[in-house]
Symmetry: C2
C-alpha cells in the first residue's frame, strides 16, 4: 500500500535505519568484548528481534512477563525479565519455563523477596535463577555494590530450596540526565565498576557469578571499556528518538520510527496546523525537551524525505489532535488539509506502545506489517 492511501495515525518503521542501528551496536559490543543482551521492551516484536539476533539461543531482555511469554513462544531460550519479580508473578514465569523450555532469569534486590519467592516457588514446584540487582548510581532499585546486602542476598539464594544465583545486573539509567558524551563515559565506568566489583565480591565470598550484566543505550555507546562485564543491555538504540538525539547518542537521521499523520485542519487564527496525531498517537512523553526544548511532543517532518520542517513541532496534544504552530501563513498552502506528515517522537518505547504493529516502509510503500505485543 502506498503511504498516501494509508489511514492515519500509524507507526512507520524504516528497516534500513533499524539495520544500521543494529549494526552499530553489534560492532560496539564486539569492540567492548561483551555479549549483547538486547532489551526488547522497545520493539516488543519478533520481527524486529530477528533483525538483531541470527540465533534464538542468544540472550534477550524484557520488561514484562507478557513479553517473556511472547518471545519464549517465539523460540528465544535465554530471557532476562529485568524488573524485580513478586510472588504473584512466579506462577506465570514458571509456566513460561515449563511450556517452552526457555530460561526466564529473574531479578531481586532484597532477602525479603528471596524468601517470599522461594516459598512461592516451592508451592508451584518451579525453580528459578536470579540476578541480584546493584545500584550503580541511578538510585531507582538495587543494593549498593559495596554493601553487606549483596552477599546477604547471595546467601539467601543459596539457602533457598528452589532458587539459585546466576549473577548480577545493573542499569545506569542516570546516563539520561546528561547530554555530555564524556559524562556518559564516566557513568558507564561507574556502571561497569559496580557490576564487575559486585561480581568479584560475590566470587570472593564463594558464590558463582556467571552473568555480569550492565547497560543503557548511552553507557554502552560511550563506555571506554567494559572489563569484568559479560553482557551489555540496551534497547532504545534500535529505533532512536528525539530523547536520544538530545543526549547525543544518535542523529535525527538515525531515528527508525515515525508516526504518519494527516493535516486535518488549519487554525489560521492561531497560526497552527491541526494533525490527527495527539496524546495517544505520540504519547505524553516530553523527555527530549530537557536538552532540546523545541522538541515539544515531536518534530514534524516531510512525509517523503523524512526531513524535519525547520521550526515545526507538535506544541500541544489532545487525545486525538495535535497542534503544530507554523512560522508563517505560507505553510497553510505548503501543508494543505489532507497532506500527510511524519512525526519523530520523544521516546520510542512510549510511542510504539500505542500501536499493535509497525508498518514497514520501503520507497514510500508499506510493504509489511510487523506485529508487537503490548500490555501485561
Amino acid at each position: 500500500m502506498k503511504l498516501s492511501q494509508a489511514e492515519t495515525p500509524r507507526l512507520l518503521l524504516d528497516p534500513g535505519k533499524l539495520q544500521r542501528n543494529v549494526e552499530r551496536m553489534a560492532a560496539r559490543c564486539v569492540a567492548l568484548g561483551v555479549i549483547l543482551r538486547p532489551h526488547l521492551k522497545t520493539p516488543k516484536s519478533l520481527k524486529v528481534a530477528a533483525c538483531i539476533l541470527a540465533d534464538k539461543s542468544a540472550p534477550i531482555t524484557v520488561s514484562t512477563l507478557k513479553e517473556a511469554d511472547y518471545f519464549a513462544q517465539g523460540g528465544y531460550r535465554d530471557i532476562l525479565y529485568a524488573a524485580a519479580i513478586t510472588p504473584n508473578k512466579l506462577a506465570h514465569a514458571g509456566n513460561i519455563q515449563r511450556a517452552t523450555g526457555a530460561r526466564v532469569l529473574l531479578v531481586c534486590d532484597s532477602v525479603e523477596l528471596v524468601r517470599a519467592a522461594d516459598s512461592r516457588a516451592r508451592e508451584i514446584v518451579a525453580e528459578f535463577e536470579f540476578l541480584i540487582e546493584v545500584d550503580s548510581g541511578e538510585h531507582r532499585s538495587g543494593v549498593q555494590p559495596a554493601s553487606q546486602a549483596l552477599p546477604g542476598i547471595a546467601s539467601a539464594l543459596k539457602d533457598a530450596a528452589n532458587l539459585s544465583l546466576a549473577g548480577v545486573m545493573t542499569h545506569a539509567g542516570h546516563s539520561y540526565t546528561t547530554d555530555k558524551v564524556d559524562e556518559h563515559a564516566a557513568i558507564a565506568e561507574a556502571e561497569r565498576a559496580a557490576a564487575a566489583g559486585s561480581a568479584e565480591a560475590l566470587r570472593a565470598a564463594g558464590h558463582d557469578c556467571a552473568i555480569v550484566s550492565a547497560g543503557s543505550t548511552p553507557t554502552v555507546l560511550h563506555a571506554k571499556h567494559m572489563a569484568g562485564v559479560s553482557e551489555a543491555r540496551a534497547g532504545v538504540y534500535l529505533f532512536g528518538d528525539l530523547a536520544q538525539v538530545s543526549l547525543n547518542t544518535c542523529n535525527l537521521d538515525d531515528i527508525a520510527i515515525s508516526v504518519l499523520a494527516t493535516v486535518i485542519g488549519h487554525n489560521k487564527a492561531n497560526g497552527s496546523l491541526v494533525i490527527d496525531a495527539g496524546a495517544l498517537a505520540l504519547s505524553k512523553d516530553i523527555g527530549a525537551n530537557r536538552f532540546m526544548p523545541d522538541a515539544k511532543y515531536g518534530y514534524v517532518c516531510d512525509v517523503k524525505t523524512g526531513k524535519h520542517f525547520p521550526g515545526l513541532s507538535v506544541q500541544t496534544v489532545y487525545q486525538e489532535h495535535g497542534m503544530v504552530p507554523v512560522p508563517d501563513e505560507s505553510w497553510f498552502a505548503r501543508l494543505a488539509i489532507g497532506t500527510q506528515v511524519r512525526v519523530l517522537p520523544n521516546h520510542s518505547c512510549m510511542t510504539c506502545a500505542a500501536y499493535e504493529s509497525y508498518d514497514v516502509v520501503r520507497d514510500g510503500e508499506i510493504v509489511e506489517q510487523w506485529p508487537r505485543v503490548n500490555g501485561w
Copy 2:
C-alpha cells in the same frame, strides 16, 4: 479471582462507582433538557456503553474510526466521529455505514475539506452527513461562530453531491483550564451560545440544522442551562480521575478506575517504595498537577478500602517502575514487598488506553473482564 492472586499491573473498574457517575450525568441531561451523546473515547468498551445506554439507537460519540467500527459492529446506530475527517479515512467510514447500517456522522471546519471529501465520497460511492465544528473558545479547531465561514461551509455541503449538513458541534475544552465551578458555568454558557447561535445563523440562511451538539465533562456538569442545544457530549465523567478531582467536577471517591500494582522493592536509601506500575501502566499524563500538585503520576491507595494513603503519590515513572516516596520508615513495614496498592491516575482516557480490558471488581474479587478497543 481474588485481587491478591492477580498479576500486576492491571486496570480495575468499580462498577458501583461507574453506575453512580452514569446516573449523575443522566440526571443532569434530563434537568438540562438535552439528549446525552456520551463520548466513548474514555471507556472504548461495549460493556461500559451498556451501563450508560439501555437502547443502542441512542447517539454516541467516538474519537477514532476504529471505535466507530467497534461500536457499529456492536449494534450502535448513531455514531459521531468527533474529529475532522480526511479523505483518506472516508472509505473506512463508508464501509462501516455499508456493513452495519449505522450512521457515521462526520465533522468538518473548512470548505477545502468539504470539497476534498465530496470528491472522495463520489469515488467510493458513499454518502455522509456532516456537523460543522464551531470554536467556542478552546481555539483548537472549528470556525468562529459569527464568521462568514459558517454559512460558507454549509453552502459547500449543500453543493456537494454526496455530502449533507446535519448540524453543528462544539467542544469547550478550555473548561479544563480552571478549577472554579463558576468559571465552568461561564464557559458552558459560551459553549452553549456558540452552538445555539451557529445553528440559528444557519437556519436563518436557509439551512436545516437538526443536531446542535456541545459539551465537555466540566461544562455539562456546571451549565446553568443549555437552551438551543439538542445534545450534550461528555466522556471522562464515566470514570473520573485526578484531573477531574482537581477541576472540582468529582470527588476522589467517585473515581471508578484504578491501577492495581505491587510493591516490588524498598529503596530505603532514597526513602521510596518501588512499584510495578510505571509510565506505561499509568501514562505520562500529569494534567492533574496544575491544580493539585501532589497528584504527581497518581495517588497511591489502600488496595482494600481504595482510600488514599496521605502523602503517597507516584513521584517518578520509568517504563515499568514507579517510585513512591514515603514520609517515614514505618511505611516499609506497612507496605512490605509483595503488598498490592491501587493507584488513582491523572487522566483515565490516557491510562485506560494501555490496557486490553477492565477487571471488574466486586468485594475484592475480579468477577468479570470487559474488553476495550485501542489503537486506530
